[in-house]
Amino acid sequence: MKNPFENLDKVLEHRTRLQIMSVLVTNDGYEFNSLKEVLSITDGNLASHIKALEREKYLSVSKSFVERKPNTKYKITERGRNAFKKHLDALEAVVKQQK
């Protein structure tokens, strides 16, 4: 039998990143500040995890100005969606195998 652990995504093993992806997979675009509120984490913490996800091209960033304030919005990419789905399947397989 194939080892389901092999299918786990190294980047998404970190829970905060997984949570960011969960928000983006259910919503069509989410702002930095809203994301911060939902996850209740600090600016720096969120920014570093977003960087990591951006590096993997799991999300795309769009910057704009709303009432002269910078507004950063994140969207999941096709690649990110596939990676999330694969990781989720692997998680389920891992947990199931143990039972």
Binding site: R15, Q19, T26, V38, L91
Partner: protein
């Protein structure tokens, strides 16, 4: 590599984040019950203005066409609406704080925008009806538009709201068939249904 319970926690956190980011879960059931109580009080006050001394189930010989009575009715409806809204905001804020969340969040903003579209169009439509003298269908229209708003809102909060929405629409359509009984249906829809659904939601989510 992590331990298995950690992976289970990962799965659980995916679910929580999906729900929390898409749905406003601090809506208070108790405020639904209170909104129903306010609506019943409003309906009783309206009865004394419009029908009295005719019994409520007697064929409603409407006198709403008198501008003074109409104005009073609109005033009652506005007071009921304002009281329900402020109670809802107050109790939901309390619940949000208890959950460690905020009342004003991305999800509550989405909920507000989504329900205000059917609510505002319905409200304006009803005012136009009253202004042009079509009094008979004002109560059914308010039930139907409110039901549509609830169904729309159920996407961004507890899904059960959808069934309250269906009930309001059905009640609205039935009441359109019985002109003159608008007040009774209004009291049923905004009073009784709110109390029943609010109590169900309170039992399920607030305790």
């Amino acid at each position: 590599m992590k331990e298995i319970p950690e992976y289970e926690k990962d799965l659980a956190s995916i679910r929580t984040m999906m729900e929390r980011s898409a749905k406003f879960i601090s809506l208070s059931g108790l405020s639904g019950v209170l909104a129903g109580v306010y609506a019943l009080c409003g309906a009783i006050a309206a009865y004394y203005i419009v029908h009295y001394p005719i019994a409520p189930l007697d064929d409603g010989t409407y006198s709403v066409s008198e501008p003074e009575a109409l104005l009073k009715l609109i005033l009652i409806a506005a007071v009921v609406f304002a009281a329900s809204l402020s109670t809802g905001l107050w109790l939901s804020n309390k619940k949000a704080r208890k959950q460690g969340l905020k009342l004003w969040s991305p999800t509550s903003r989405k909920l507000l925008i989504n329900i205000s579209i059917p609510l505002v169009s319905g409200g304006v439509f009803i005012l136009i009806m009253l202004y042009t003298g079509h009094f008979g269908l004002a109560a059914p229209a308010s039930l139907i538009f409110y039901g549509l708003a609830l169904i729309q809102g159920s996407l961004n909060t507890f899904d059960e709201i959808r069934y309250l929405g269906y009930s309001e629409i059905i009640l609205g359509l039935v009441s359109a068939m019985f002109p003159g009984y608008g007040l009774i249906f209004w009291a049923l829809g905004f009073g009784i249904l709110h109390i029943v659904y609010g109590a169900i939601m309170y039992n399920k989510y607030d305790k």
